[in-house]
């Protein structure tokens, strides 16, 4: 049986008149990588901060690693790791000193600390830089150190708040390898991101927009639920073709990819026939049409647009 490591019931948070998080109910299961997806300002960080016990909910309840976040925030804090996009390292301390510090504030004794630090340095390939000041590391290395600090006490649950913001693609990929390794060892990971490619690396996703939860499920489930069909089209006049397609009710979204137009249709409309026909009717020649798999990004954009139009999800 899979047990919920995080469970929220109608969790809400307001800042004055602004509702940052509205009525969020969800469950995160043990050992999974759970992605929290949404544009900037959607309420991702606010939700994570409530789950970490450093921000009180305005209403609703939340349970993290078996403790009520409003009533026992300190018990929650002892059993979670937390890493933000700011990395929160002390730049004037060396890599080892940073690790020692975080091991210390999580209550690890000297002997345990030495063992853990040696292990973490080896795992992350930081051994050669152990004595380097954290402030002199590049973004990718800082990120590794920050992850090492956040997991030094081997927490059963790890919160990552936009951990890859401003990090180069290679480092990002290595970082996700690490996340999967951590998860394979049994740690539950809750990660926020607005990178769609990262969303597909999660076991399950929650879409949050304007503080409201739009959908929860595996990437495949979420994409399937939107019932989108997508084609890549090469047309003579891509800009005019895109403008035209956007006026049609059957078309959900049009996006430029170099010479290609990526067109999503909904309501079971077959885009392989519909798109060339619609363009031909307006005298725009189509050189190629190729069906392709709808992505999380397609689903997300579609959902956000529906929400913005005030339509049903």
């Amino acid at each position: 049986m899979t047990e919920a490591v995080v469970r929220t019931e109608h969790l809400s948070r307001s800042f004055g008149d602004l509702v940052a998080v509205r009525d969020v109910s969800l469950e995160v299961r043990r050992g999974e990588i759970f992605g929290f997806l949404g544009p900037n300002g959607a309420g991702k960080s606010t939700t994570i901060r409530m789950l970490c016990g450093i921000l009180d909910p305005t209403s609703g309840r939340g349970f993290v690693v078996g403790h009520d976040i409003a009533k026992e925030p300190e018990k929650v804090k002892a059993r979670i790791g937390y890493m933000t996009q700011r990395f929160s390292l002390y730049e004037d301390l060396s890599v080892t000193e940073n690790l020692e510090f975080y091991a210390g504030i999580y209550g690890l004794g000297p002997r345990e600390r030495a063992v853990r630090i040696a292990a973490v340095l080896a795992r992350t390939g930081l051994e050669g830089r152990a004595r380097q000041l954290a402030g002199t590391l590049s973004g990718g290395w800082k990120q590794r150190v920050a992850l090492a600090c956040a997991t030094i006490h081997e927490p059963p649950l790890l919160f990552l708040d936009e951990p890859t913001a401003g990090v180069d693609p290679v480092s990002r990929r290595e970082f996700w390898d690490q996340i999967h390794r951590i998860s394979a060892e049994g740690t539950t990971v809750l990660v926020t991101t607005h990178y769609m490619d990262e969303a597909e690396r999660c076991h399950r996703l929650a879409f949050i927009f304007r503080g409201t939860l739009l959908d929860v499920g595996t990437p495949e489930e979420i994409v399937a639920r939107r019932a989108l069909r997508v084609v890549e089209v090469v047309a003579a006049d891509a800009v005019r073709a895109a403008d035209l397609l956007r006026t049609l009710p059957e078309v959900d979204e049009v996006a430029h990819y170099g010479p290609l137009l990526r067109v999503a249709t909904r309501g079971g409309v077959d885009p392989e026939r519909f798109v060339p026909d619609a363009l031909a009717a307006h005298g725009i020649a189509v050189t190629s049409v190729r069906a392709t798999r709808p992505t999380v990004e397609d689903a997300f954009v579609s959902m956000v647009k529906d929400d913005a139009r005030g339509g049903a999800v």
């Binding site: 800042f15 901060r49 970490c52 016990g53 450093i54 921000l55 009180d56 925030p73 300190e74 804090k77 002892a78 979670i80 937390y82 933000t84 700011r86 929160s88 390292l89 002390y90 730049e91 004037d92 301390l93 000193e97 020692e100 510090f101 975080y102 091991a103 210390g104 504030i105 999580y106 209550g107 690890l108 004794g109 000041l133």
Partner: protein, 375 residues
Amino acid sequence: MNVRLLAIAVKELRQLRRDRLTLGMMAGLPVLQLLLFGYAINTDVRHIPTVVLDHDASAESRDFAASLVATGFYDVVGHVEQQDEIGRALRTGRAKVALVVPAHYASDLARGRPTTLQLVVDGSDPQTVASALNTATGLAAARSSQLVATRLAAAGGVVSAVPIQMEPVTWYNPDLRTATYVVPGIVGVILTMTMVMLTAMAIARERERGTLEQLIVSPIRRWELVLGKILPYVGIGYVQMTLILLVGRLVFRVPMVGSTSLLYALAFLFIAANLALGLFFSTLAKTQQQAMQMSFFFLLPNILLSGFAFPWEGMPEPARWLSQMLPLTHFLRIVRGITLKGATLTDLTGELAWLLALLILLVTFSSLRFSKKLD
């Protein structure tokens, strides 16, 4: 020892070790301030520049001017011929005092008629006026009784000693040296300045760099964080205090009459009170700069009202009341009491009670404000 608390304290010391500027400031500032205050603040006014307007130009008038110079308080910088030249001399700052000897001074004295010497002083500097007037009046009185005695003797009267005499006996700082008074006070001022500022900035820095969020999301308890942050600075406070007392002793010959261990024990309350105050500021400040501004803003009333620069006894009632709320006021009395007068714990219970009450108040205030929540 508590692992979490120790982790914070060690981290704080490591950061401090790498911060050369702050480190230099903490050691250099006390010594620099000490030398500045010790040498510059000197209320023992000597060598006041003086001009003489001598309408008499007699041996007696010259004799009086010479005895004035002999006191060491006056230096005759020149002679003027007319009344309005005195105004010029005072305005330009050439002189602070003018001695006016009336015409017929010598002949009046010889005939036993009363005569009046005039001392014009520059009142824009009250400290000088007080000193100048005291010495000159004393000198004139001494002269008078001497004359009366001579004359009585000449008339064949019995010359006894002066009937009533005041014998001033100064205890504790017999030479009335300002440095002796100022140096122990500097211990308090420096501790107020650095302790408040360092803690206020130490937390504001974490807030600014985003590491505070990482701390409050950890299981560290509020008191562990606060104490761990404060303890290294308590040590620094003691180092500063020792430095000032040592330099004060070697350079300014400031005595240590009372118990050093009592002073160090009581200083703990004072240092802790300042650190708690710094912590309180840090809960209000969003940036290090704001924290620094608040600390400086707080320093000014401390210097003005605590009795460091101006005598507490001369303050109006509301100012006194306000100054009682400043930890420095009480610590100054403690540090001066112990170093100069050899005060014991029993002598200082009043100040101790005040300091303790302020400490409890500040600690309560700042821990209430310092929350492990973000909003």
